[in-house]
């Protein structure tokens, strides 16, 4: 409601203003304490990530490859069909082969990519990632080659190493962006590795589905991943902290929601139908793949938007 101001007050203000000094509420007399202000013209405090399209694509490809090597290993251990094991190994190897160039392309000085292996630095997730990818790439390649040249024992050992490093490949990217100063990422440092892991598992099962495999296990795993992604969507939507604003407002929230829809609710329903219907399984697979890719892009974009907001960093 508008406060009531008597007409005489306006005359008073005019007279005081003519003398150069107003006594109104909120006036600071000369020499008073420096006024309180919460930021420097609202300019951003932290720098936005410099990463371009290669990085979210790497998160997607590397994650799918990592989870695929886990699937290859557990499928073999549980006695699933050899063709599934072989295809899962191939998905992992091809994914690893694509991941390396993607990461190198994103560097400001690609020709210096080997500098990544100058040091082994557990406190740096980027260093751990570089080493993980190196081991993963070697192991997945060794696994498929030794199968080709009929050295099954070496192949199985390599597949075991690939599965171990694959677990890291599928989840470490969440740590990579979680353990930063970007408010929206840091706020989700605990959930991002699980979120990205579920996304990786969903895309690995989807790739094997689309390769023509119809094991019930793949559908179950896709179902589990979609269920977690649905939960993650609900969790994001129910937050009201200012760090998570890029996930709920503005263009980045749209991308997050589209990615979430294709990763969560849609494949969840289709996977349930997919227990009986092959077509539903295929559509669920395509949806999960698309959702996983969009989700990675959305999180990077949300990080860029988050860096522009100085409020969380200045609290």
């Amino acid at each position: 409601m508008k406060p009531h101001i008597p007409e005489t007050r306006l005359d008073e203000i005019r007279e005081q203003a003519a003398l150069g000094h107003l006594d109104a509420k909120g006036i600071r007399p000369s020499g008073s304490p420096f006024p309180e202000e919460t930021s420097y013209y609202g300019l951003p405090l932290v720098k936005p990530p410099v990463w371009t399209w290669e990085v979210p694509l790497y998160f997607f490809v590397g994650g799918a490859a990592g989870a695929s090597s886990v699937l290859a290993f557990s499928a073999q251990l549980a006695g699933a069909s050899p063709s599934l094991v072989r295809d899962a190994r191939w998905v992992a190897a091809i994914g690893a082969a694509v991941s390396g160039p993607l990461l190198i392309l994103d560097l400001g000085r690609p020709e210096r990519f080997l500098n990544m292996l100058r040091v082994f630095k557990p406190q740096s997730p980027m260093s751990m990632g570089a080493w993980t990818l190196s081991v993963f790439g070697t192991a997945t390649t060794a696994a498929v080659i030794s199968e080709k040249v009929r050295l099954p024992r070496i192949g199985d050992t390599a597949a075991f190493v690939a599965a171990l490093s694959g677990l890291a490949m599928a989840t470490y990217t969440g740590v990579l962006i979680g353990a930063t100063v970007i408010p929206v990422w840091a706020k989700h440092a605990r959930s991002l590795p699980i979120h990205f892991g579920a996304s990786a598992l969903a895309s690995a099962t989807a790739l094997l589905n689309l390769r023509g495999h119809d094991d019930a296990a793949l559908n179950t795993l896709g179902l589990a991943a979609a269920a977690f992604e649905t939960y993650m969507g609900i969790e994001i939507e129910s937050r009201d902290d200012i760090e998570s604003e890029p996930l709920r407002r503005g263009p980045t929230s749209t991308t997050i929601r589209i990615g979430g829809f294709f990763s969560g609710p849609l494949p969840l329903v289709l996977r349930l139908l997919g227990i009986r219907s092959k077509r539903a399984r295929r559509v669920a697979a395509a949806s999960a793949l698309l959702g996983s890719l969009i989700t990675r892009v959305a999180w990077i974009e949300a990080g860029k938007a988050s860096a522009r907001d100085s409020r969380p960093s200045l609290r």
């Binding site: 300019l43 720098k47 410099v50 500098n115 406190q123 890291a168 353990a179 100085s310 609290r315």
Partner: protein
């Protein structure tokens, strides 16, 4: 070697930008764009890949309706910002190549011959200092004039500062000087002068610290900066949980899936002949 530091005293700064100019010339830093920001006299706006010193112009005009144009309502403060050279530096911890190191002077230095431009330090700095130079590809920030310090000289900005607003010296001596200066300012009535040095956070204090008036947030100096390393434990734990769940789930579903009657076992041939049915 003694640990050296910067004490930037905003109450002495006149906003002349000699530090910006001296830094640019000595370190051969490229231009960072020519823009009119409209934000007081600040057209530099922030530290970055091509700005190692940045003078902030904290200006508040009288609000409309409360004070008219009375000039005594206006406040104008200047402060020269710089890389904080943190005790626990986020950029240094994040750097995967070992390019970012701690020098014998206690400063944080990016070795340009090692950096491969991965960009991870950029998102690890709680003060938005280090950034990747797009045309060069490597990360750049204040070098604390490592070359000059090696030769026993003071950094270019401190030498060029005409008012003694930028003080360079041994960190412990500067801290004592800052305490004396604060006591003097408080005694002369400027009771809102404070020292900004986040010693009680995970940053563990900075080697470049600031004496400012009022709320340090008005200078984009965060009250509670944290290095990303504080998040590592919870984040890696979550990754371990995710990895464990992935192994357990896939082993379980493949083990159960083999016994379930719903789906026929897919042999090697079945996958080859897919689409045949």
């Amino acid at each position: 070697m003694a640990v050296t530091g910067f004490l930037t005293d905003s109450t002495l700064c006149i906003g002349c930008k000699a530090c910006e100019v001296a830094c640019k010339e000595w370190n051969d830093v490229p231009d960072d764009g020519f823009v009119w920001s409209g934000l007081s006299y600040d057209n530099t706006l922030a530290l970055g890949h091509s700005t190692y010193r940045h003078v902030k112009f904290v200006e508040r005009e009288p609000r409309a309706g409360c004070g008219g144009n009375a000039k005594e309502q206006m406040t104008w403060e200047f402060s020269s910002d710089v890389c904080k050279h943190c005790e626990n530096a986020g950029c240094l911890e994040a750097c995967p190549t070992g390019s970012i190191v701690r020098t014998e002077f206690g400063s944080v230095f990016v070795q340009p011959d090692i950096c491969n431009g991965c960009g991870y330090c950029v998102v690890a700095c709680p003060f938005g200092v280090v950034d990747r130079r797009p045309d060069d590809g490597r990360a750049f920030k204040c070098t604390f004039c490592y070359d000059r310090q090696k030769a026993g000289a003071e950094p270019a900005c401190a030498k060029a500062c005409p008012t003694g607003s930028i003080l360079f010296g041994r960190l412990d001596e500067l801290e004592r000087a800052a305490d004396r200066r604060i006591a003097h300012l408080h005694a002369s009535g400027m009771t809102d002068a404070t020292i900004w040095n986040p010693k009680d956070t995970s940053v563990g204090g900075t080697h470049a610290f600031f004496l400012v008036r009022g709320d340090p947030r008005a200078y984009n100096l965060p009250p509670k900066p944290e290095v990303p390393a504080t998040l590592l434990r919870q984040s890696w734990s979550a990754a371990a949980v995710a990895a464990g769940a992935m192994v357990a789930l896939s082993l379980m579903s493949f083990a159960l899936g083999n016994r379930s009657a719903g789906v026929p076992p897919a042999g090697p041939a079945a996958s080859r002949r897919r689409g045949a049915k």
